[in-house]
């Protein structure tokens, strides 16, 4: 059960640090930490209330830092497009005006389907300023996941591009009655599809001033969808108070400091890309770099070098791809100002942590959190020793534990070191999710007494370091994204040849897991190469490349419980050649 660390180095000691970190003494910081102090480090509104965008922009502009570089976008031709804090503030104000003029009110939901571009930052902050709830969507989603999310989230406005709209949203528009306005970025006015508005024209005409809505700390701010094992994706709702933990965690776990040039490689369609790509650097008042292009080793090294990146937050899949591309490629560039490397998405293997030393003279700092937790919860810090393969130590202000669920619905704490159990967090931190949209029972099921139950299995060693063991459910973690087997199975079942489908994650050296589907065909269909390709194509068209299976296998019959439920656990065991476990409920075995 326990993943053996098998690290080439047991502990990476932190003797000499390149610069004094924000948290030089973890133990002392943990003892002293109080969320009220973290809240006091922000501005807030006179008489109470908080707004994430006010802390990210208004506060810095009012303090005279409007001229500071907020974000630099680097496009394919290496053209740099710079936005100062003031320019981004103006841009966000224009967006807030546009959204308000469309008749949207507090709590209405604005969605984006955008890659890495200035408009994404402006719309995010503009929606928050206007007191609306903002939800980013991933551009690699196919029409089906997009429709599900827009529909469950009752999106009233969608901001996207003409190409994405035409390809993925327009065919489903009729099934989205709540979606009143679609705003297209940089569309030629002549070519506007029916039922859309020209965002760029509205933006250019809008006034640059806007008074940020004085939202209450407990008012909804952000919505992110995450995948569950069964049923529809869950809409994870966060409130403006999350800003307290967004700011504190970026200072403590990413060590963001004045003057930093920060690069977060995550896509803004996922929670990391939004919280730590868009919001956290602004909250800390630093400058960030955004690469508008997709992953490419030489380009990434050039960006680290030429943009003089100091703090870099990336993902295990990317690190492993860089490792494959060879360390000599890393050594062809220089990174004298690079100070801190961090990684999130899935556990970073020990070799990758140590490879950072070889390539950059710096280790990668793995950390752990979930959409539900809203911000980093467990991390390796600038000043703490690293045990490669471990997710690290709980953030100051966060109480973590390993627990066992009891039949009565409660939990018991596992005090013994190195004993696997479910990773739990004491409820009540500022960025804790406040709801699964419209699914109160599912939300309540995540808590037992004082504890939030993460669904991740982990163990804690004698030094208090946490180690990821596995998922407690069937959710697939591929290239840092959570994928619901249910969503993939449903798409396959929509194909006329498919009788049943069971979907699991199978190990992959680059992506950690890739999606594999086992398909049972209806009578009269042959599981040949042509049908295999047809099903792959069908799934990719509906789900998008990031979610669709990479492998399909035909089986005569899928393992089922007597009640007819497909046992993914058995599929996984068979695939990996492991014992199949307790099969007493398996159909035909009892």
């Amino acid at each position: 059960m326990t993943e053996s660390p098998a690290s080439p180095v047991a502990v990476l000691r932190k003797d000499a640090l390149p610069r004094t970190p924000n948290m030089p003494d973890y133990g002392a910081a943990r003892r002293r930490f109080d969320w009220r102090d973290a809240r006091a480090a922000l501005e807030g509104f006179v008489g109470g209330g908080l707004n994430i965008a006010a802390e990210a922009l208004d506060r810095h502009v009012a303090a005279g830092h409007g001229g500071r570089l907020a974000v630099r976008f680097v496009d394919r031709q290496w053209r740099r497009h710079d936005l100062s804090y003031e320019a981004l503030w103006h841009g966000a104000n224009r967006c807030a005006r546009i959204l308000s003029s469309l008749g949207l009110g507090r709590g209405d939901r604005v969605f984006s389907l955008l890659g890495r571009c200035p408009e994404l930052h402006m719309v995010t902050l503009g929606a928050l300023k206007a007191g609306l709830t903002f939800c980013p969507l991933f551009t690699a989603f196919g029409p089906e996941p997009l429709h599900t999310r827009l529909s469950l989230g009752r999106a009233r406005v969608l901001v996207t591009t003409k190409a994405l709209y035409t390809r993925k949203v327009a065919p489903l528009r009729a099934g989205l009655p709540h979606l009143e306005h679609v705003l297209l970025v940089s569309a030629a006015p002549a070519g506007l599809p029916e039922g859309t508005l020209d965002f760029s024209a509205l933006w250019a005409a809008a006034d640059t001033s806007f008074e940020t809505v004085r939202t209450a700390a407990e008012e909804a701010a952000l919505l992110h969808f995450t995948s569950g094992t069964t049923g529809q994706p869950k809409g994870v709702l966060h409130v403006h108070e999350a800003v307290v933990a967004q700011h504190a965690s970026a200072r403590l776990a990413l060590d963001l400091q004045a003057g930093d040039r920060y690069w977060c490689t995550a896509d803004p369609g996922w929670v990391t890309g939004l919280i730590y790509g868009v919001l956290a650097p602004l909250l800390c008042g630093v400058s960030s770099v955004v690469d508008c292009e997709e992953f490419e080793p030489e380009r990434w090294y050039r960006l680290l070098d030429e943009e003089r990146v100091t703090v870099w937050y990336t993902a295990p899949t990317a690190v492993r791809m860089l490792m494959k591309a060879g360390t000599d490629l890393a050594h062809a560039r220089h990174y004298p100002e690079l100070r801190f490397l961090a990684s999130v998405g899935e556990p970073l293997n020990p070799e990758a942590v140590v490879w950072g030393m070889e390539a950059f003279g710096l280790p990668f700092h793995d950390n752990w959190w979930q959409t539900e937790t809203g911000t980093i919860m467990i991390a390796n810090y600038a000043a703490t020793d690293i045990k490669p393969g471990s997710m690290g130590l709980p953030l100051p202000g966060i109480d973590a534990a390993i627990v066992r669920r009891l039949p009565d619905g409660g939990v018991e704490l596992i005090a013994d070191a190195d004993t696997p159990g479910e990773l739990a967090l004491r409820a009540g931190w500022p960025s804790m999710f406040r709801a699964y949209l419209d699914q109160e029972a599912r939300y309540r099921a995540c808590f037992a007494g004082d504890w939030y139950l993460s669904g991740d299995l982990a163990r804690r060693d004698a030094d208090g370091y946490y180690w990821f063991v596995g998922r407690g459910d069937d959710v697939i973690k591929s290239a840092g994204h959570l994928i619901s087997p249910f969503e993939v199975e449903s798409a396959l079942l929509a194909h006329p040849a498919v009788a049943q489908a069971g979907v699991i994650g199978v190990p992959d050296p680059i992506a950690r897991e890739v999606v594999k589907a086992f398909v049972e065909l209806k009578p009269g269909h042959a599981g040949d190469e042509a049908l295999r390709r047809e099903l792959l194509a069908h799934a990719r068209r509906r789900l998008g490349a990031a979610v669709a299976p990479r492998e399909i296998a035909f089986v005569a019959s899928l393992p089922r419980t007597r009640s007819g439920k497909i046992m993914r656990r058995v599929l996984r065991a068979r695939e990996l050649g492991l014992p199949e476990g307790d099969l007493s409920t398996l159909e035909g075995k009892a």
Binding site: A140, G142, A163, E294, F295, E296, P297, E298, R299, T317, M321, L322, K324, A325, G326, L329, A479, I510, A511, V514, R533, E534, L536, A537, H538, R540, R541, G544, A545, A546, R550
Partner: protein
């Protein structure tokens, strides 16, 4: 020669991304602008090229696989390099 290489490349592309209609692929436009093609697809495309054509595409050259014409030109060069090095 180029014609046959192009059709082989298209066959490999649609093996990785069977949702793509080979007849509609625009040669000079990036794959990513025409259809969904993520970094895992690029990786699998490179693996397929190696298997079918015996040409190893290192990660640093993945950008050469970003459009059909770029990809064909790159593989042509790789073939010529291989032929000339094996004949000396």
């Amino acid at each position: 020669m180029t014609g046959s290489l192009e059709s082989r490349v298209l066959a490999l592309l649609t093996e990785v991304a069977p949702d793509v209609d080979a007849a509609l692929v625009l040669p000079d436009v990036d794959f990513r602008e025409q259809f969904d093609f993520d970094s895992m697809d690029v990786y699998n495309f490179a693996v397929a090229i190696h298997r079918a054509l015996g040409i190893d595409v290192p990660e640093r050259d993945y950008r050469e696989l970003s459009s059909l014409s770029r990809c064909v030109a790159y593989l042509e060069r790789a073939r010529i390099a291989r032929t000339s090095s094996s004949s000396t």
